[in-house]
Symmetry: C2
Subunit: 240 residues, 2 copies
DNA sequence: TAAGTTAGTTGCACTATACAACTAAGTGAT
DNA sequence: ATCACTTAGTTGTATAGTGCAACTAACTTA
């Protein structure tokens, strides 16, 4: 027996990728969950779970490819903000054996999403309200832990980055962007310092258009770059 | 064939854990590297690599346990600052097949480290200077990428956390702590604001002792908590 | 034309920082 | 003893981003 076959003879853990998909719907932060098959021979039948699945070593060139494939299958979205969150692996998180999952999180503008039309069961994918650090539903596996970590990470990054910009449609007003920040952080922000912060970077581009309403029209902005987030030097509201 | 055996029949990627181990030696940031076996049947024989190895599904309860086991084997250190960095997985990063590695990084006080005494080859573990975003040596696998990411993450966290405190011995002066920050960041910091920042949190505890020298003695401090890092509201030197 | 509403600005206070000049406390040479 | 030298530690002033509150701007509707 050579050294190579010895090392490959180790029992290998199961390897999966999960994606925590966030979006904004009616000014509320939402997370996309998938209902698992009603199949008693698989773990957690009929329960809600994160978007995800096993790495397909034939199809997926790398972990991000698995994440993108799963995201595309469930939302129809090709290019989206996608960031690695962390990984969870242990002997007992999956009854089928030692398993490790590489978790990403994604932030989508709801306009871009085409929810799946799965003939048989159109209700197998659903947006859930994010409340505190989770959802009002039991989740499969350790997905409640994972979701809580993703929400924490999202909130802490939103304190000093432009991530909520990825929740916005093509054109939006500064107040709408502020509403998105507030929906994620679950707390109000101060108008003038919010505006100063957003306009002090080259994140946004003013358009010649205004959003008409029964009051003073608001300037419409668009993102300068669809890809990169901007980092600020401080957090909001020093917590004191 | 049942659904279970179908899902487990997938070919599984190799699963490993790597740890990027940082320490401070003579006021220079160092990273611990291990020389791979001189064995032509294994990939990258005789090359330097990060601390790491395959998950042992029989021994390791979870990923962190694998990381701690590897850290203990190579440094003798049991409790250290250990944080997940990210994971890397692809079809071609390991010639033995589709492989995914879960990477942690650790920060150690050099005093705590007992370098291994491996009878045969005592030179198989060595501290390398961190220069720019890497080391002056070729690394096995994609470990140069991983190391660069770890250095970036370390530097960016050091801007707003107390991580360098974990590089210090039991007792240290504020100047020594500042030297550690500067070694990691590879740039000078301003004395008075550094002191104000450090003393404004309850990170440090003044001891009754002073460090004697051929000049004014410096107050010695110790960490209040060995476990948690402190977060600050801003970065150092806003980069214009 | 006035009331109501939301957009957007302005002035002032506060806080953590940067920068520079200062004082404090020791050693060692003369 | 005194003074030069060195490093520890402090102080004063400026600055930048924020929080807060009050203000002005622009539009609709009654």
């Amino acid at each position: 027996m050579t050294k190579i076959s010895a090392s490959l003879a180790f029992e290998k853990p199961l390897t999966s990728v999960d994606v925590v998909v966030f979006s904004l719907l009616e000014n509320k932060l939402k997370v996309l969950l998938i209902k698992r098959n009603y199949n008693e021979s698989e773990p957690y039948p009929n329960q809600w779970a994160l978007v995800g699945g096993f790495v397909d070593v034939a199809k997926d060139e790398n972990l991000e490819a698995t994440a993108k494939r799963k995201l595309l299958e469930k939302t129809g979205v090709k290019a989206a903000y996608l960031e690695q969150l962390a990984s969870w692996g242990s002997a007992n998180r999956d009854p089928r054996g030692w398993s490790a999952t590489h978790v990403y999180f994604s932030i989508l503008a709801i306009d871009d999403v085409q929810m799946p039309k799965n003939g048989a069961n159109t209700n197998d994918a659903q947006w859930f309200d994010v409340i505190e650090s989770g959802v009002l539903t039991t989740l499969a596996f350790d997905h409640a832990d994972i979701l809580a970590t993703a929400i924490d990470r999202l909130r802490s990054k939103v304190e000093y980055t432009s991530l909520p910009a990825f929740l916005m449609p093509e054109l939006f007003t500064l107040k709408e962007l502020q509403n998105a920040y507030e929906a994620v952080l679950a707390r109000p922000l101060e108008k003038s310092s919010f505006r100063t912060r957003m306009l002090s970077t080259d994140l946004l581009e003013a358009t010649p258009n205004y959003k008409e309403a029964a009051n003073r029209p608001a300037q419409l902005y668009r993102l300068k770059s669809k890809i990169d987030a901007v980092f600020f030097q401080r957090t909001f509201n020093p917590t004191k």
